[in-house]
Symmetry: C2
Subunit: 568 residues, 2 copies
């Protein structure tokens, strides 16, 4: 058995080494033919002494190493990071929380606290981590640097490691100091936050897709197909809609729904300034209001109700009830099995109806001014959002004229014919033919070319292609006092002067094959006397889709509904 040799590089605990150190051999026991010489004994004693000292030195050194390591392992930053308990409103300190959008030169040097999503993190060497925090359309760079000082702001290696393990999309609570910086990888490029505290408030598990992938433009994916270094995953629309909560967090969607909200506000602001009041009409109806074919049936206690296909009758009754100028923003239900880019089974109708004095053009002009107010408001107050959306859905700014182009329907047909357009049956376009979707788009292009506008009005539609309650033109009985408004070649508003005389209304019903007896409630309202009136209805999502050129109406609806989708 060879003697142990102290090995400083070995990690066996010194205590073990010490207790296994060789003891002097006992003399005079058993078979000892030849005892060691005196010189030999001296040598051995010397070696033993040497080994003992070595062992003692090793033990001492090991102890120091342990102390040093323990000292190093001690985490002075423990109080500065970690997972928070469930937020049950335990306490309130009335601290002001930072919103990234409010950062300004005055913020530099300030200690701030904020809540944000963990967008991503990237280590640089062993002592620095760059984190990206997200609030809606803004990302802010955070820097976490392991610090030498042992003060309350200390950042330890453990804290650094923790920060890198926080899953993306987790909600974090951050404290730090705002600094001037030049940042490339975040939307906020002139500031960053030096992190002193970092807590996870809500930890998130597996994600269906990344916010970055969901935020890319089609052009990025096309580029990625030619560059193997770019590993992008396309996120298809159905996947987005199935995971809508995740999808809604993209900067694009954050911007789209701020704009959707603004369209409603601008609609109301203008109409309120013109003496309108807001009404709310029932969506549960005792009878199908417009067309029996596309109405949803509701089991109503022991009977049947129908979901309103528009507030048409209700808003006209409000006019007969003397409210003069009314609007409504409410859901509209259409049981149409249409699976196109621009149809949904439930959408938001912005409807208005207005008594007028001399001419239905009074109403047409209010509608026009209202829409221009929306376009102007969006372009002046929501440029940031529009720019955010353009990154994913590139488009030219929406063009409109100070003085809106009002084109008689016949004039529109003429422009189309001169440009070689045909009817949907391939035949010559007739002056009283309805416009196909294709011809509407074609006309939109012709108008844009000739008049430099994405927005115009077609007036005086043929009577035969409008609903029975449309007032005929006073001089040409084949035409009517009705109009459509177009954005980028798609109809967004349809309206008309209505027939307000009950006798004439019943005649009109009969002429299109409707039995007046089936609509007595509606007729009764006019028997009580209604002033001449006109109105129109806009599809909110269509306006948003076309203004921003989103290509699919579902992108302009928070939780879209179509024949195949009822969730989430």
């Amino acid at each position: 058995m060879s003697e142990p040799v102290p090995q400083e590089t070995q990690s066996v605990p010194p205590a073990v080494q010490v207790t296994t150190a060789p003891a002097p051999t006992q003399a005079g026991e058993g078979e000892t033919p030849a005892g060691p010489s005196k010189g030999e004994l001296k040598k051995r004693a010397k070696e033993a002494e040497k080994a003992k000292k070595a062992a003692e030195r090793a033990a001492r050194e090991e102890e120091e190493r342990k102390k040093r390591e323990a000292k190093e392992a001690e985490d002075h930053a423990k109080q500065n990071y970690g997972k928070l308990p469930l937020h049950q409103s335990q306490e309130r300190n009335h601290r002001k929380f930072l919103k990234f959008a409010e950062l300004s030169p005055e913020s530099v040097g300030q200690r701030v606290v904020f809540r944000a999503r963990m967008h991503n993190s990237r280590a640089q060497g062993a002592k620095i981590v760059f984190l990206a925090f997200r609030q809606q359309t803004h990302t802010l760079q955070g820097v976490l640097v392991v610090s030498g000082e042992k003060d309350e702001n200390q950042v330890s290696k453990q804290m650094l490691k923790y920060s890198q393990l926080i899953p993306s999309e987790s909600i974090v609570l951050v404290e730090g100091v705002i600094k001037s910086a030049e940042v490339k990888s975040c939307t906020i490029t002139n500031y960053e936050v030096g992190i002193h505290k970092l807590f996870t408030a809500v930890e998130v598990g597996e994600l269906p897709f990344s916010i970055d992938d969901a935020s890319r433009a089609e052009a990025d994916f096309e580029k990625a197909e030619k560059d193997e270094n770019l590993q992008y995953s396309r996120v298809a629309l159905p996947t987005r809609l199935d995971n809508r909560v995740m999808d809604l967090r993209t900067p694009t969607n954050q911007a789209i729904f701020r704009i959707q909200s603004a369209v409603g506000q601008l609609f109301r602001d203008y109409l309120n300034s013109q003496g309108f009041i807001e009404i709310h009409s029932p969506k549960l109806q005792g009878a199908a209001t417009e067309s029996g074919a596309s109405v949803f049936k509701v089991q109503y206690f022991n009977g049947t109700a129908f979901l309103a296909q528009s507030p048409q009758l209700a808003k006209q009754m409000a006019i007969a009830g003397d409210f003069e100028r009314v609007y409504e923003i409410g859901p509209v239900f259409r049981a149409e099995d249409s699976n196109t880019h621009r149809h949904m089974t439930e959408f938001m109708g912005l409807d208005l109806e207005m008594a007028f004095e001399e001419h239905y053009h009074e109403v047409l002009e209010v509608l026009d001014e209202m829409l221009k107010n929306i376009f102007k408001g969006l372009q002046s107050k929501f440029q940031h959002e529009i720019e955010v959306i353009k990154k994913q859905f590139p488009h030219e700014d929406f063009l409109f004229l100070d003085e809106t182009l009002k084109l008689p329907f016949k004039e529109g047909i003429k422009m189309l014919k001169e440009a070689g357009a045909k009817g949907s049956d391939g035949e010559e376009l007739g002056e009283l033919d309805d416009l196909s979707t294709e011809n509407e788009k074609f006309l939109g292009r012709l108008v844009r070319e000739k008049y430099k506008t994405d927005y115009f009005i077609l007036d005086k539609f043929p009577l035969a292609i409008r609903p029975f309650y449309t007032m005929p033109d006073p001089t040409d009985s084949t035409l009517s006092n009705s109009y459509d408004f177009f954005m980028r070649g798609e109809e967004i508003l349809s309206g008309a002067q209505r027939v307000h005389d009950p006798v004439f209304l019943a005649e009109r019903m009969k002429s299109v094959g409707i039995d007046p007896a089936s609509m007595t409630g509606y007729l009764d309202a006019f028997k009580l006397g209604a002033p001449p009136h006109a109105g129109g209805g806009i599809g909110l999502e269509r306006v948003v889709m076309l203004f921003l050129k989103l290509g699919n109406i579902r992108r302009a609806s928070l939780f879209p509904r179509d024949p195949k989708r009822l969730n989430p």
Copy 2:
């Protein structure tokens, strides 16, 4: 055959009299035994002459009378009155039409044109008619006086007669001159219009009831019961609702729905100022959202959909989708067979949801400020409407404090017990018992007495009586971070901090007997990470009903829906 005698009083035409005047008898013909004597002949000739003169005089007088009558019958005012043809927007003169609400001292002496309802008319002698014209909440006196001058402003007797025959509620077009006046029978008491032109634009037939009867206060009917000179007809609520278009024209209803509109505006104005955005969530749901019992089923193509009972899940998903602060104004559907003064199957929900930083009281305070903003806005800008409504529904102005009373639930129970209130079972009220409608009202009276307010907040409701998604109190697990707001002793807002942790949420579901698997879509939203959040929902019609003390929620709904009413 006796000779004709000229009769001046007789109306036989003179021409006939003349041709039947006796001719001299022919002599020398046939049997003439004895010819007349000379004297006789002379006498006869004299008489004939006399008769001729009389006839001539009569003819002359008759002619003069006819001339005189024709002159009198000539209607120089024909162009100033009559029934207009159907208004088909025939022409446009860009005249400005008067709104009664805009009358001011500057109006005096001005020639105006306006459209109004014919409210009533009252003749004074043969040459004057007083008419009352109505525009919404205002009536203006019109005076029609037969004029001597034959100018373009002439008012003829025929015109006077015509004005009296225009049926009430017809829509008239009036031209005239505004004069200072003292008027008792109209709402506008310091002006009247001297009428020059009066046309009927829309003639109205039989009415279900009169606006005056529909506008009277209960006290008027009580007075009429004791006074046989007062012939008032009570108009019952169902009659009003069956003829809602007519009913809506009362000044009271004109005012109620202006206030209803204002509540929505004030709600939005405050929340917009606090960084909220408006969302629109689908009313068609793939699954029953809250309670399966009170949900309406919809036939959705070949499957079934459900009408949203609240936007609860959608607005929470919007928070998980990073919108931070959202609100929605939309219909809420409840298939509850409740026929009470405060239940409808469809009503307008004003809902909001908000991520908070430290404490759910941040949200409670936003809700409180929002409601106070509504109360203040109504009392400062809609005093005219409130006064109009008070005439039919007398009430004390709504009382609220600058600093809203926030009462812990336990404190409320204590106040009730001290005042002798019992539970709905007649037993002692327990600290964790739910409040019956009666006890809510009782507490409202106690609070009003002690704190002089019609508006207060109950906070910290027992956990057991709140929905599963309510966050428990951090220190007392029998309580919760939830609250109700009250107006005049009735709950108008219910809300809470929500459970945002998916694991805890699933636990809470199980503890109340809900299978988490039945709500995976909802749970999934929280697995993707939602910040701590709280919110609440208000019933628009309840706020209007209670603020104005209308006594029945149907009076605050344009076209109310209940288990027995789906029309109009």
